[in-house]
Symmetry: C2
Subunit: 481 residues, 2 copies
């Protein structure tokens, strides 16, 4: 059988990506958008579509615009040294076309040499380059496009490489800590400015940026550890991922073309926390950013390529749950008003605001109803005895420092893990809506790729994350250039 | 934004399935294979690929042959009246191109009129038709191709429609009960024979079937309620799904072409039980059957279309798990020697074989080690305190009729549901391997479609389950025929 399969694989594979790439003779593109929904698997966008249908009382599942692109593929993501990848290894694959080891940023497996990135190649070919993310700009995914670093957690080193990159536009998140973890290093923001960048962190300055602004680093007015707020937590003080994308197009558009990478980084964070509403709002914000690129594509369809993909799946997300069985109630997720993280902050504030540091269970439940919706009978979010037991249990551990009874402990560690009260609450809501997760980590399932524009067909079918920059390269430049 | 999206959807969608179908001007095909992996989502085939890599100590994820087909899409599956579909409504979509209500077999939503099926149309066009499944032949998926019935559970009525279908080949599973649920109805097997079919249920008769055998209904020598054994439970007495597919090709191959539907029905059953090893062996058997079609395709590449898809995802399966986090140990699943169902039977036998009906925990654990591998330290399957507590708990409920302590009950119903000892054991094994499930039901995530042959590009991108027979029709016959 193995022999048969091996022989077979030649003839079937002959029509696949590598071969298609080698034979490509279509138009070359001038403008490339690579959108990376960090942690976004098939379920994350499907849940978003289902949510949009549910809140509109619509029985048809309308695709997010990128899910309607003419080319769609499924992409393997495994790292050189681990089946389940991480953002650094997968970012490296997406940026350089090489598999590498976990936590490595655009270097080879043993971190002895650097891999050039598609963004660097674009820059060397006189194109303008923009890197946009909703998390901090020195995070693994954006870093993989401009830095080469043995460890993804060397944020300061990565930031320093940003300042010397000469890329044209950085947008969205800022530096995690611009003076290093100890606050004793030369300020990266100053280095950015010294290297000729305009550093913009207010809404009015951002709005005022014009086409001839030169090199720009623009960050959201509110940042938390360098990251933009979650989409669900944004207010009118914030700029959206779509705003940064729209501005990027304005700044980068030029005769010699551009390469723009846009990361929806917080989809992953919400998925790690199994926060279904957070994931869905993250995907919607990401999709809005893609729509800006589509708008540009419509004006330059013969020269624009848009690729939308992900670096890995996070959370083992399912659009279904054990208890809701065949039913779905996605509209219930509307009752969640803030993300898991902000809800956790609200709970912390309760303790801080209490004179004796004590917070009653009833008070916690009031806040839970207000922000997560649990307890709202008329929205299908009444709490049964079992929900109450779980919430009370989480409350006792978090607010009363109570030890878990041994019985609970065995079950909890097997089926819940260590969960905060906030996690327990969003978990209960998600399951009542008919969404569930199996993990707080990444998983190894292939992720979707969507593409539109000349050569989009190279992204059809089964591909690997290393194919992404290889395909882009072939579509940008005649082979050998 | 909505207006923008609506306008946009025209231009982007313009290149999609419906439009591509309308403009198709390529070769027409003569031989069509439609493979349906019941319940098989992206995770089910990814887990199978990861398992094959793991047992071969290979770090690369080698695609199953159908995952390497040049065309791949993602297909929505929702039913007319429910977001999460069932096999009847989805089977109807795959067979007729119409969405219908849950549990309805190839009739309209209110069950007042019948939809013609692609298999019936093929027959009317002088093609030969074969329907193959690993579950009973009157089950929803195969039934949707030859029957029209208001309720999928009317198995006898469905079976009677089979006998009058005049289709050329039925293979794999047999009737659930050939004389009806009460055993008082005319025997369907006799009706099949009276209608000119050769009914074959032994291995030697099966092997002896020759090209000129006429109409054939061939079932596996061992059937359980009409269904073939699970792939993992098969022995040399059984015929495989690949055997039935190979024989189908032999019997149906003729000048006027054929349409063959092959269902891997037990992938779904194993996924319902969250039985990872059962799922993986089911997918491998299904893939072997596809390989028979590929063999035929290689001989008639200009006239053969193979479409491989699924009716819905089952189990909310993830190739990752909460406790294993970023690690994977798929090779551990090799220690499971029988499926969940057969393991349950082994446990029942223990009780039956005991003189006083009592079975000690140690004895149950011996059997568990033997068949599921739990306890085999050298294979990474040592049991910790928490695993033991869960197993003991399940043992007490199942073998001692002990009531659950209230504490356990709340947690169990929230996180486990009612689980038998066998379910608890396969669940622990799967999680130790790094596979997990979120549901015992179907979920609403889009499922993959793979296609090869003339017109395979119609199956690229985002499609709906109703597109499948519409695409096949266009590829079989010039529009209007």
């Amino acid at each position: 059988m193995t022999v048969f399969l091996l022989l077979l694989s030649f003839s079937v594979k002959a029509q696949n990506t590598e071969d298609k790439r080698g034979k490509y003779s279509g138009n070359h593109v001038k403008y490339v958008f690579l959108f990376v929904g960090d942690g976004m698997g098939v379920a994350h966008s499907a849940a978003t579509e289902a949510y949009r249908s549910a809140i509109n009382n619509d029985k048809v599942m309308h695709p997010l615009s990128f899910n309607e692109f003419p080319s769609q593929g499924l992409m393997t993501t495994y790292a050189k040294d681990r089946f389940i990848t991480g953002s650094a290894a997968s970012g490296t694959a997406l940026a350089t076309g090489h598999k590498t080891s976990i936590n490595t940023i655009s270097m080879n497996e043993d971190r002895s040499s650097e891999y050039p990135t598609i963004a660097e190649k674009a820059k060397a070919n006189n194109m303008k380059v923009g890197i946009i993310t909703s998390v901090s700009i020195d995070h693994a995914t954006p870093a993989a496009f401009y830095a080469h670093e043995p460890k993804r957690h060397n944020y300061y080193n990565i930031g320093r490489q940003l300042t010397g990159s000469n890329f044209d536009y950085f947008g969205g998140g800022g530096f995690k800590s611009s003076k290093g973890p100890e606050g004793d290093k030369p300020d990266l923001i100053k280095m950015v400015e010294d290297n000729g960048y305009k550093y913009v962190d207010s809404k009015s300055d951002f709005r005022g940026l014009e086409k001839n602004a030169g090199k720009v680093m623009a960050v959201n007015p509110r940042l938390d550890n360098g990251a933009m707020p979650y989409a669900l937590d944004m207010n009118r003080k914030d700029l959206s991922l779509a705003d940064f994308t729209e501005k990027g197009i304005e700044l980068l558009d030029n005769e010699d073309g551009f390469f723009m990478m846009v990361e929806g980084g917080k989809i992953d964070w919400s998925a790690h926390g199994n926060d279904a509403a957070g994931v869905i709002h993250g995907v919607m914000a990401f999709s809005d950013a893609v729509d800006e690129a589509i708008d540009f594509y419509e004006r330059h369809p013969e020269e624009t390529l848009i690729v939308v993909t992900s670096d890995h799946e996070t959370g083992g997300m399912a659009v279904g749950a054990k208890k809701t069985e065949y039913s779905s109630y996605y509209e219930r997720l509307q009752q969640q008003k803030v993300t898991l993280d902000v809800f956790g902050d609200k709970l912390d504030e309760l303790v801080k605001d209490s004179p004796d540091g004590e917070v009653a269970f009833d008070r916690v439940m009031q806040i839970t109803e207000k922000y997560i919706g649990l307890g709202k009978e008329r929205h299908g979010l009444g709490l049964n005895k079992c929900d109450m037991r779980l919430l009370q249990h989480a409350y006792e551990i978090q607010f009363k420092d109570k030890e878990k009874p041994e019985e609970m402990d065995a079950m909890a560690s097997a089926y819940i893990g260590k969960q905060s009260f906030a996690q327990t609450a969003v978990d209960i809501l998600a399951k009542k809506a008919g969404v569930s997760f199996t993990s707080n980590s990444h998983t190894g399932i292939p992720v979707p790729v969507s593409a539109i524009g000349p050569g989009a067909e190279l992204f059809d079918g089964r591909i690997d994350n290393t194919d992404i920059p290889k395909n882009i390269e072939v579509l940008l430049w005649p082979i050998g250039k």
